[in-house]
């Protein structure tokens, strides 16, 4: 530690170069943070999926409906606590680009199955009593500047082409990572207005008494419907979200590939800078060794310099990235639902810092070991 001033003095000797190296390091770590944020955003459904919930869809595909009569039958199975169902509405608010998901929900059990979505008691009561009532997530309400009591016209696309009017009765909130863009209205209203779809629901979500029941209950549900016109496919919420995320394209691979390119490039840039500064200072290092500092000291001396650059750059980059996500969170969602999941987790920050240290060591190791192996006599003669 007492040699810190010497290391710092060396760094400040070429201010421009040090700034540039720290800058490129900070940029790489910023990008690392950004990629982690995006990965999290794409996988958010997977990360928050409840282990004690099953999703029951039509075996043919997600868009095929299921009969509402399954609700009672599923409820009777051992290990099932609650059952709720949803219908995808797929309407358009003014313009297609204003997309947010709308569900016709089963008001009876919705709150037992999804306790993480919190609606103030008063608002929920109003909603129950209002046939055309709707509850919307905080992110969507903020996006369009809706307030409780507003009338919201949504043009149906699946169920005819009329515009349906809803009254905003409540706004739900939830912890970070949950989807705050959904729009709920009562299934009753949908069922009344769509005679052709009567008695049909989109999918069921089943809450289990205990996650251990997942396999047996899933099998029991699928057996229940076997050979009927509406066969089901039941999987855990996590498996469902994973397969959905995988279909969206292999984002994870893309992000890893970009990350690898960035990392490799970064290694070269820092390594090169270190090599240049060692080359320039061969004489000085030789003097250090000549006056009695050991090989290992020289090694750590050079390595320390590269580590310092790496850690400083890493902290800077990650801090800027974190600041940006906080800024986005405070400004609100201007990209329609997607940015609400922009969150740099502490785990990602830690990974970034570890990666910075690793790159710092890797980049410094070659110049440092060549400095260590320096033959004093030769090096001094070169000056």
């Amino acid at each position: 530690m007492k040699f810190m001033p010497l290391i710092l003095a060396n760094l400040f000797r070429k201010k421009l170069r040090t700034t540039l190296t720290i800058g490129s390091f900070a940029i790489a770590m910023f990008l690392f943070g950004l990629l982690a944020v995006m990965r999290g955003a794409f996988n958010q459904g997977v990360d928050i999926a409840g282990a004690d919930r099953l999703v029951v869809i039509n075996k043919v595909s997600l868009i095929q409906p299921l009969p509402i009569s399954y609700r009672e039958r599923i409820l009777q199975l051992k290990g099932v606590k609650n059952v709720t169902f949803d219908n995808w509405f797929g309407g358009v608010y003014i313009e297609e680009k204003n997309f947010f998901p709308q569900f016709a929900i089963d008001v009876d059990d919705q709150r037992q199955v999804f306790p993480e979505m919190r609606v103030p008691e008063e608002q929920w009561k109003t909603f129950l009593g209002d046939r055309q009532g709707a509850i919307v997530g905080g992110a969507t309400a903020r996006r369009f500047g809706w307030k409780i009591g507003d009338k919201i016209p949504i043009r149906s696309t699946i169920y005819g082409i009329e515009t349906w009017d809803f009254n905003l009765d409540g706004i739900y909130t939830a912890a970070q990572g949950n989807d705050l863009t959904q729009f709920w209205f009562q299934y009753k209203y949908l069922d009344e207005r769509t005679p052709r779809q009567k008695g049909l629901v989109g999918w069921y979500t089943v809450k289990l008494e205990n996650p251990d029941y997942a396999v047996s209950v899933a099998k029991a549900i699928d057996d229940l419907s076997a050979n009927s016109p509406y066969e089901t496919k039941t999987e855990t919420e996590k498996a469902f979200a994973t397969s959905f995320a995988k279909q969206a394209g292999n984002i994870e691979f893309l992000i890893l590939a970009i990350g690898a390119v960035v990392f490799f490039t970064l290694l070269l840039v820092t390594g090169n800078t270190m090599a240049i500064s060692v080359r320039e200072r061969i004489g000085e290092l030789a003097v250090l060794k000549a006056i009695g500092f050991g090989d290992r000291f020289v090694l750590f001396f050079v390595l320390g310099e590269s580590l310092l650059i790496a850690v400083f750059g890493g902290i800077l980059g990650l801090a800027v990235c974190k600041g940006l996500t906080l800024l986005i969170a405070s400004v609100g969602d201007f990209l329609g639902g997607f940015l609400q999941f922009f969150h740099l987790s502490n785990a990602a920050i830690l990974q970034g810092l570890v990666a910075s240290v690793a790159v710092g060591i890797l980049a410094g190791i070659i110049p440092a070991s060549s400095a260590m192996r320096l033959r004093v006599v030769q090096a001094l003669r070169r000056v």
């Binding site: 540039l20 595909s61 970009i258 490039t265 390594g271």
Partner: protein, 389 residues
């Protein structure tokens, strides 16, 4: 007088280690930049090539995609008699279609993906003349037989020629494979529209869309006016090309934004790398530069010379980046088309225009990374620099 270019080329060779770092920094950035654009381009090309100029697609007004459309049999009859529809003999060339999805496991991950299943009429191949059978035969009307696009057998499990699959409560035999020239139909599964509607428990008299071949691309306006003016219809008539163009916009836009942000941030990093390389090149060569100035080269020539060197390094970097991504061309990947909720296989498309954009991007980075060090090189007082020897 200009400094001979050979001086810079030799200098780069003499300091190849530090040059390579700058080259790779720029190459990595350019590579990622082109790869992202090629991904968007591939997706767009696949969807856009699904449309033909002489085809029109008719859906219910207000539908955002075929998935939500509905056209009744009576309305189909009106379309059949409309002006501008091409005929073969007495038969109008159109195909009323039922579009649904079925879940099949992806071969790559084993997880389920939504495959678009299209119930078509026996005229489908005549309407979409760019599609032809490559193996087996077309399905027999009325039977539970399927033909699949050429990407299907290699993307989803169990959908190979001759195989029998169960979905939607029916048992289907796969009797043929068609080639749709790299369009989105190559990821689809086709059967008889009546059979598909039946199995999916949809009423027999409702279709999702009608695709019709027109007598010529110019007949579109007449057709559109006739159909939209008809009081018995509430339909939207689009050129098939426009319909698919619109479908491709969402994801293409997202990839462009994502790629733009990443390329921008990486670009700054690469410029820093180039600046570092050039600054150290300048400082290591201060006596050379001073000597050049002393023997009569002007400061402008020195600036030009160093900018040239930076551009040269950047150009090599751009070239390496391009070469690295060219093998991606044709590499097939899949993504969800959220407009239709179905999985779509498409290939990266590295076009000459994209490569050109990559080189231009590289040169731009080289310019930004080269000018400040070049100016510094020219500003050093000659006498001082020589004295430092």
């Amino acid at each position: 007088m200009a400094v001979p270019l050979i001086y810079n080329l030799r200098s780069v060779r003499a300091r190849w280690v530090s040059a390579i770092v700058a080259v790779l920094g720029i190459a990595g950035t350019v590579g990622v930049f082109i790869a992202m654009l090629a991904l968007a381009k591939g997706f767009q090309t696949t969807l856009v090539s699904s449309g033909s100029p002489e085809n029109a697609i008719i859906m219910r007004a207000g539908s955002t995609s075929e998935m939500t459309g509905s056209v009744t049999l009576d309305q189909v009859r009106i379309v059949q008699d409309a002006q501008g529809i091409a005929r073969e003999g007495n038969q109008p060339l159109l195909t009323p279609e039922v579009v649904v999805i079925a879940a099949f496991p992806l071969i790559s991950t084993g997880t389920d993906a939504n495959v678009q299943v299209r119930g078509v009429s026996d005229k489908a191949l005549k309407v979409r003349s760019n599609i032809h059978m490559v193996e087996g035969r077309f399905f027999e009307p009325g039977l539970s037989e399927l033909v699949v696009g050429k990407n299907v057998p290699s993307t989803y499990q169990g959908l190979t020629l001759g195989n029998t699959v169960k979905f939607g409560g029916g048992t289907w035999k796969i009797v043929g494979i068609f080639d749709a020239g790299g369009s989105s139909f190559d990821s689809e599964v086709w059967g008889d529209s009546r059979v598909v509607a039946d199995v999916y428990k949809r009423p027999n008299y409702i279709f999702q869309s009608v695709t019709a071949k027109m007598t010529s691309p110019a007949a579109f306006t007449t057709l559109k006016d006739t159909l939209t003016a008809d009081p018995r219809m509430t339909v939207e008539v689009d050129r098939e090309l426009d319909y698919y163009q619109k479908q491709s916009q969402g994801l293409t836009h997202q990839i462009h934004v994502l790629g733009g942000v990443i390329a921008f941030v990486m670009g700054i990093g690469a410029i820093f790398g180039a600046l570092n390389t050039m600054y150290s090149a300048v400082s290591e060569r201060s006596r050379e530069i001073a000597t050049m100035r002393a023997i009569g080269f002007g400061s402008g020539s020195v600036v030009l010379s160093f900018v040239f060197e930076a551009l040269f390094i950047a150009f090599i970097g751009g070239l390496v980046g391009c070469l690295a991504v060219i093998p991606l061309n044709g590499f097939t990947t899949g993504a969800m088309n959220f407009q239709t909720f179905s999985h779509l296989a498409f290939a990266f498309k590295v076009t000459p225009a994209l490569l050109g954009a990559g080189i231009a991007f590289a040169l731009f980075m080289g310019l930004l990374g080269g000018v400040p060090p070049a100016i510094r090189a020219a500003q050093r007082p000659v006498a001082l620099a020589l004295r430092e020897l």
